[in-house]
């Protein structure tokens, strides 16, 4: 318990978390501080490219083994499964319309790459590097969740007209989503170019990485704070608490995966983070198209305004502590 407290405090006082807090503060006080949309997109492209490449580079060093494929499989299963659990919890504990519950469920089955990044940084500080292929696991955990969410909606929603369904453009949006393509592509380039490639680009993607992450978290704080301000009204107690226990449940499933696969401590923690985090970039757009009758503001406020800060501040240290005990 002592080490958890210590770790949490240390984490809370890291520049990354503090810049996020600064962003939330600025948004809540309605400061005019904003980061242009094009810059926010560029930061996220940079981070995805960097984390993908670094993961691939690590795999190029460690070699491709069965663990990679099993982890991919486990990640997909986890992403398929979590929405069912989330949907069940929401139906039991809240009075959300079914279509909204299905949409939220899909968000929680998917992952937040920024939470993943923050976790990687914490692990690196603690000296627990994870398997490089966890990046690839992150990449495969978006699509299954969306499919689960749609399947749940198709089964549970009675008014079928409210389900946009899976047309071509949605399918493309889901499968060839920009961040998935970039994450996977950069990962493969890292695998292929290995040491040489890393030498070429490390001054760009490794050295300034944490600083860029600070800037991006400042922006995420701004967006999250603004989201909370406008959407606070939707976050009824039942939903609010869901935003906190659901990541813990997801982390539990991730812990099981990591343990069953025999991953390293770092890898297990990242699996927990993947289970615990919820999407707020790719899935919202996809669910908007698939379920046009759901209210897009609710999952966004929940995943970005509650679950993301929870994971960033308390969740990650908690998962590290638990994993160290269990493994």
């Amino acid at each position: 318990m002592d080490s958890l407290l210590h770790l949490t405090l240390e984490n809370l006082l890291s520049p990354t978390v503090l810049f996020f807090v600064l962003g939330v503060f600025a948004a809540l006080t309605r400061s005019s501080l904003t980061i242009p949309e094009a810059i926010a997109k560029a930061l996220s492209i940079y981070l995805v490219m960097a984390i993908g490449f670094k993961g691939g580079y690590q795999v190029s060093k460690a070699g491709i083994d069965l663990g990679l494929f099993l982890s991919l499989l486990a990640g997909m299963l986890l992403s398929f499964a979590v929405p069912f659990l989330a949907f069940a919890m929401l139906k039991v504990t809240t009075r959300l319309p079914t279509v909204d519950a299905a949409s939220i469920a899909a968000h929680y089955g998917s992952i937040s790459i920024v939470t993943f990044l923050a976790g990687t940084e914490v692990l690196k500080l603690l000296g627990h590097e994870a398997e490089g292929y966890m990046v690839a696991v992150a990449a495969v955990m978006e699509v299954p969740a969306i499919l689960s969410g749609l399947w749940i909606a198709a089964r549970a929603v009675t008014d079928k007209s409210s389900i946009g369904g899976m047309d071509n453009s949605l399918m493309r949006e889901v499968l060839l989503n920009g961040s998935i393509v970039l994450l996977t592509g950069a990962f493969l380039i890292g695998v292929v170019t290995g040491e040489k490639g890393m030498a070429t680009v490390s001054a760009f993607i490794v050295d300034p990485f944490k600083g860029v992450l600070c800037l991006f978290l400042l922006d995420m704080g701004l967006v999250a704070g603004r989201g909370l301000r406008t959407s606070w009204k939707y976050l009824k107690p039942g939903l609010l608490i869901f935003g906190i226990y659901m990541p813990v449940l997801g982390a539990g499933l991730g812990l099981f995966c990591g343990w069953a696969l025999g991953l390293s401590l770092g890898g297990t923690v990242l699996f927990m983070i993947l289970g615990a985090s919820a999407s707020y970039i790719a899935v919202p757009a996809a669910m908007r198209m698939a379920l046009p009758d759901s209210q897009p503001a609710i999952p966004l406020a929940l995943s970005l305004g509650i679950t993301f800060p929870f994971n960033l501040t308390i969740g990650i240290p908690l998962y590290v502590t638990v994993a160290s005990r269990v493994l």
Partner: protein, 99 residues
């Protein structure tokens, strides 16, 4: 100079591709997409500042077409995009057609 209708769609960005597909399918002579930065409707205000996801943002599409076609397009789009997704308007405009 000929009379045309100026159709203006204010619609949610995730549906842009579908609208364009519809416009193409109905052989609209052309369209132009204009960015929007912020807004409010019956739902909450939104703004693009710092946002990465496309969800929850609006975009504007303008198309000049003959009155008959324009009305058909507006009708079809209203049906297809349904509720909450697009605000569709028609204005009279005199167009100086490039040759």
């Amino acid at each position: 100079m000929e009379m045309r209708k100026r159709i203006e769609f204010i619609l949610e960005k995730p549906f842009l591709e579908r609208l364009i597909a519809l416009l193409d399918e109905m052989e609209t002579p052309g369209y132009t997409v204009i960015p929007a930065k912020a807004g409010r409707g019956r739902q909450d205000p939104w703004t693009r500042e710092g946002m990465v996801t496309d969800a929850g943002r609006q975009i504007i599409v303008v198309s000049f077409a003959e009155a008959g076609l324009a009305e058909k397009i507006a009708q079809r789009a209203a049906e297809k995009l349904g509720n909450r997704i697009a605000l569709i308007s028609l204005t009279d405009a005199a167009v100086y057609l490039p040759d």
